[in-house]
């Protein structure tokens, strides 16, 4: 693989994703409205009932809206990852996935490029959300907005890789609703996005264990700490490991001879 060729191709893949995203205004609005509804309605409603004690990275008592902000950024990336997964299944059904896969570049590179393009879009969404949240008095230190960037990259890649892995399993677009019920909702609700771990432990040991091992929890913690200019090493390693595992299985899933594509589809689509 020539580096120049790879760079041009990567730029092209990202540009296409961006073109598509900008054209689909409803997708952009939905991606923004969803976390904002949670912030303005859900979090505001729970403000009085859910007091948050002083836990790292926060140095003082915080409002529930402040706590939930990192979780909602995670939510943006989780939905974006699944949206990319949906569009990959759609692309496969419509045939445009073939255009990508018959390009003269290694398949792992093409899939990583697609993943990076999706992550790039999710980062844009996250920063627009943070801008709106800033006017709602949810403000991180200025440095936090910078240190958040690499965390957004890793969390976005991990959740995108999960989406890609799922897309290699899903045979038809219609089956995608299962992903909503069995992946997105459990991952989101059984995580630290809405409640801190100690609070979950108070109500259920099992939920606490599930939330601790949920990679989405670790991605959210990575984002939460990064927002305040801090580095959570455990969350970083956990998210990184999850990314490597998901990506490896996803590339295997798209391998023309070994993957699930042949087994699931029973032949060329």
């Amino acid at each position: 693989m020539k580096l120049g060729h790879a760079a041009i191709a990567l730029k092209g893949i990202i540009k296409r994703e961006l073109w598509r995203f900008l054209l689909q205004r409803e997708r952009f609005v939905a991606a923004l409205v969803r976390p904002l509804v949670w912030l303005f309605v859900f979090a505001a409603g729970f403000r009085s009932t859910l007091g948050i004690a002083i836990i790292p990275p926060y140095e003082t008592y915080i409002l529930y809206e402040v706590y939930i902000a990192a979780g909602l950024i995670g939510m943006i990336q989780l939905f974006n990852g699944m949206q990319s997964s949906l569009s990959m299944v759609y692309d496969r059904e419509m045939g445009s996935m073939k255009t990508l896969l018959v390009s003269p570049l290694p398949r792992w590179f093409l899939l990583t490029g697609k993943l990076m393009a999706g992550t790039f879009v999710s980062i844009l969404q996250a920063y627009v959300f943070l801008l709106v949240a800033w006017f709602y008095d949810i403000q991180a230190p200025w440095l936090g907005y910078l240190s958040l960037f690499p965390a957004l990259v890793l969390a976005g890649l991990m959740l995108g890789a999960l989406g890609m892995l799922l897309s290699s399993f899903i045979k038809q677009l219609e089956n995608f609703s299962g992903v909503m019920n069995f992946v997105i909702f459990p991952m989101f609700f059984m995580s630290t996005a809405l409640y801190p771990l100690w609070k979950i432990k108070e109500s259920s040991e099992l939920l606490h264990t599930l939330a601790s091992y949920n990679p989405f929890s670790q991605a959210v913690e990575l984002l939460r700490f990064a927002m305040y200019g801090q580095f959570n090493g455990y969350a970083f390693l956990y998210t990184l490991a999850a990314f490597v595992i998901f990506m490896t299985v996803a590339v295997w899933g798209y391998n023309p001879s070994k993957g699930m594509m042949v087994k699931k589809t029973g032949g060329p689509s």
């Binding site: 693989m1 020539k2 120049g4 060729h5 790879a6 041009i8 191709a9 730029k11 092209g12 893949i13 540009k15 296409r16 073109w19 598509r20 054209l23 689909q24 419509m94 045939g95 445009s96 073939k98 255009t99 990508l100 896969l101 018959v102 390009s103 003269p104 570049l105 290694p106 391998n255 023309p256 001879s257 042949v262 029973g266 032949g267 060329p268």
Partner: protein, 248 residues
């Protein structure tokens, strides 16, 4: 790169099965430079499977495929660099413009912006589509979409063009236009073409014919040779003999 580099496409002893269902069995074929080879077969003959294997969307477990001498399995990047493909189903992005679709493809082929712009204009001009370059693909009719797809497949100047039933669903003038254009490419540009179809009227007397039925190559050679082998001078009759087992 093997000694088969002289041939644009070489398929040797290729077999493929889905679970227990045999899709291709011991397929051997070659397409020389500047040759238009028509892969003729009824629906379900194995044409799309063969195309999926040539384009490396699937890996063959038995047999080998070489494009310009490069092994598709082991040297897939080099092999695919010589390949242009028009799939049966439209693979253009409907919401993007003709130009955006072509720039995307050019970037996947590693073409720089300047070179891409030049090649896009050349190919669109050849297809009579230059004036519509800024239109969204969704606004184009089926025939025009196909022309854009052919332009896209030729952007990087491949040695071999694969067309998987490209005229399906098109009206008669569009079909005729595409058939003529592709044959002209073989003649003028010395492009090799493998054209899958089940429509007899798309075959020119100068074409090479490969008849595929139930995963097996039933006959191959020039139109004259294949018809001669079936003791007829009519391709339809020869095709019927070969695929329906009608007694000679």
């Amino acid at each position: 790169m093997s000694s088969s580099a002289a041939q644009s496409l070489l398929v040797e002893k290729l077999s493929y099965a889905y679970d227990n269902k045999v899709a291709l069995s011991n397929v051997n074929l070659a397409v020389e430079a500047g040759e238009c080879a028509v892969l003729l077969g009824p629906n379900g003959a194995g044409k799309s499977t063969l195309f999926s294997l040539i384009t490396h969307l699937y890996n063959s477990r038995e047999g080998e495929i070489f494009i310009k001498g490069y092994d598709v399995k082991r040297q897939s990047c080099q092999a695919l660099a010589h390949l242009g493909v028009v799939f049966q189903q439209t693979t253009l992005d409907m919401d993007l413009s003709v130009l955006q679709n072509l720039y995307y493809h050019a970037s996947l082929q590693g073409m720089r912006r300047k070179q891409a712009t030049r090649r896009i204009e050349e190919e669109l001009d050849r297809q009579g589509m230059l004036a519509r370059k800024n239109e969204k693909v969704r606004q184009l009719n089926g025939g025009h979409r196909r022309r854009v797809e052919i332009a896209r497949a030729l952007l990087h100047q491949p040695s071999l063009l694969l067309l998987d039933e490209p005229t399906v669903g098109l009206d008669v003038p569009s079909r005729k236009g595409i058939v003529e254009h592709v044959h002209a490419l073989c003649e003028k540009d010395k492009l090799s073409v493998l054209w899958a179809t089940h429509l007899i009227d798309e075959i020119y007397p100068s074409d090479q014919l490969i008849v595929l039925h139930e995963g097996e190559v039933k006959a191959q050679g020039s139109v004259y040779e294949v018809c001669g082998g079936e003791s007829t001078d009519d391709i339809s009759q020869a095709f019927k003999h070969l695929t329906q087992g009608v007694l000679r």
